[in-house]
């Protein structure tokens, strides 16, 4: 329970100047890290060290540092969000590492997520998929009372399970096929489970899948890697529902 000090760590980090440049790994040494520190705090310390040596710090995405905004996105030691389950990179703590370890840090590798700089990738593809139909088409105002349509608790709970997606991209980053199916399924499934979303379920499933394919994500082969690396533990049962919704929609065409 009490925090220990990791005397020395070797960090092997992907550095890339910008989207067009060719990147490569750089190795850094860092000392005296508390096991109570988060992984990103360790990187903050590295960056402080780099600034003091007048070198450019490592660029990485991060924001809320509470595991909910979905900004942080590092591939650490061969796993999306590192060697812990059900966490985002910002919730990964240094107690997961041994003193003297070498830690490899890479950006998400996925053709649809090009690297912008160092460890930062562009996840605009996820935005585009949602823009294609990941919503309920209602305008502000003129809606019925919140309790006008009762929703069975199991359905509401399951919708919430899917809605927990933070759009971090770990699913596509970890999938051996770079498939975005879990991300798409989470939204399609959430809205298909609720009466409000059911109305345009067919259109939504078709539009989002078409956009996903267009953007160059791979195909799902049901390995389940996405759900085990998903920081919000979203289940691939939602992918089954997406498949169902898609098939239903296509059969009507």
């Amino acid at each position: 329970m009490a925090d220990k000090i990791l005397k020395e760590l070797t960090l092997k980090i992907w550095r890339q100047k910008d989207a067009k440049s060719k990147g490569g790994f750089e190795t850094y040494k860092i000392h005296d890290i508390s096991t109570g520190s988060s992984f990103l705090e360790m990187l903050d310390i590295l960056n402080e060290q780099l600034v003091s040596e007048n070198k450019e710090p490592v660029a990485f995405d991060h924001d809320c540092r509470e595991g909910i905004c979905g900004t942080c996105s590092l591939f650490i030691d061969g796993r999306a969000h590192g060697p812990d389950d059900d966490v985002t990179t910002c919730q990964l703590h240094m107690r997961r590492f041994q003193d003297g370890a070498t830690i490899t840090i890479e950006p998400w590798r996925c053709g649809a997520f090009p690297v912008i700089k160092d460890l930062i990738v562009d996840r605009g593809a996820y935005e585009k998929i949602l823009q294609a139909g990941g919503y309920v088409s209602v305008n502000t105002g003129g809606v019925p009372d919140g309790n006008a349509i009762p929703i069975a608790k199991p359905a509401a709970d399951e919708a919430m399970d899917a809605a927990a997606c933070i759009g971090c991209g770990a699913c596509a980053a970890t999938c051996k096929n770079s498939s975005a199916m879990l991300f798409v399924a989470a939204k399609v499934s959430q809205l298909a489970l609720l009466p409000q979303g059911k109305i345009e379920a067919a259109r939504r499933a078709k539009a989002m899948v078409a956009k996903m394919d267009e953007l160059g994500f791979g195909n799902c082969t049901n390995t389940g890697a996405c759900e085990s690396e998903c920081p919000k533990s979203i289940s691939i049962e939602h992918i089954a529902r997406l498949n169902r919704e898609f098939l239903k929609a296509k059969l009507k065409d």
Binding site: K12, W14, F25, F75, D77, G78, R79, P83, T104, E106, R109, C110, G111, A112, T174, K176, N177, S178, S179, M181, V209, A210, M212, D213, G216, F217, G218, N219, C220, T221, N222, T223, G224, A225, S228, E229, S235, I236, E237, I239, A240, R241, L242, N243, R244, E245, F246, L247, K250, L251, D253
Partner: protein, 229 residues
């Protein structure tokens, strides 16, 4: 159904349906093959083989089966190529053992190995029965019906070559591994899966894959160990 086949899910659904069709074929095939060890005289197997060779419905199904194979192979190849292309720059270090099974990651390789086995298998039996012929196939008479002695061809192969026995055992294992993932994955892809059924299907897949693999492995083992006299 416009653009169904160009969509990722559409391709997956067809791949799954063809897979399920092939699974149904495997069941029939295994049931027939097990006659090899049920009846030492080979009579039952020969009757079965003769039925399969002459029944008109089977004759219709045969080319469909071939098409099933071809669709399964072509779609799997397209999907795999697309999937490879979706990650132009690979990771330097990957640790996937904890998050998915080896078989699920290597379905295409397993499928390829099964395919190689299939060619050998076709050359061993199907080719000889249908086209090339073999002295062992000399016509016999069972209950008044003239038929080829397919039993002799099969038992002859396994009795004469330990290498073939091992090859067929390996083929069975590859096929079993392919099915540990393929069986439940097919249901998942066509959407016939949920929280409760997933556990059942995954369990069923393991049992089914084991039965298929064990069933096909038993036959060469049976001849290899000299249990067929």
């Amino acid at each position: 159904m416009s653009n169904f086949l160009t969509s990722s899910i559409g391709k997956k659904i067809i791949l799954s349906l063809s897979g399920l069709f092939l699974i149904a074929f495997l069941c029939v095939h295994l049931a027939l093959n097990l006659l090899l060890i049920v009846d030492n005289s080979g009579e039952l197997f020969n009757i079965g083989a003769h039925f399969m060779a002459t029944n008109p419905i089977i004759k219709i199904v045969e080319p469909i089966l071939a098409i099933g194979f071809i669709i399964h192979i072509i779609l799997a190849s397209i999907l795999t190529l697309q999937n490879r292309g979706a990650r132009p720059i690979k990771y330097d270090l990957r640790r996937q053992s904890g998050n998915c099974t080896w078989a699920s990651r290597n379905m295409y390789i397993l499928g390829g190995l099964v395919l190689i086995f299939l060619f050998v298998h076709l050359w061993n039996f199907w080719w000889k029965i249908k086209f090339a012929g073999d002295p062992l196939l000399a016509e016999i008479n069972v209950d008044g019906t003239a038929m080829e002695n397919t039993y002799a061809l099969v038992s002859g192969l396994f009795k004469s070559s330990i290498i073939y026995c091992f090859l067929y055992i390996l083929g069975g294992i590859f096929l079993g591994l392919h099915l540990t993932h393929g069986f439940w994955s097919a249901f998942q892809s066509i959407g016939l899966c949920n929280q409760i059924w997933r556990k059942r299907l995954e369990c069923l897949a393991k049992i089914f894959a084991f039965i298929i693999a064990a069933g096909f492995c038993i036959i060469p083992l049976y001849f290899m160990l000299g249990l067929a006299n």
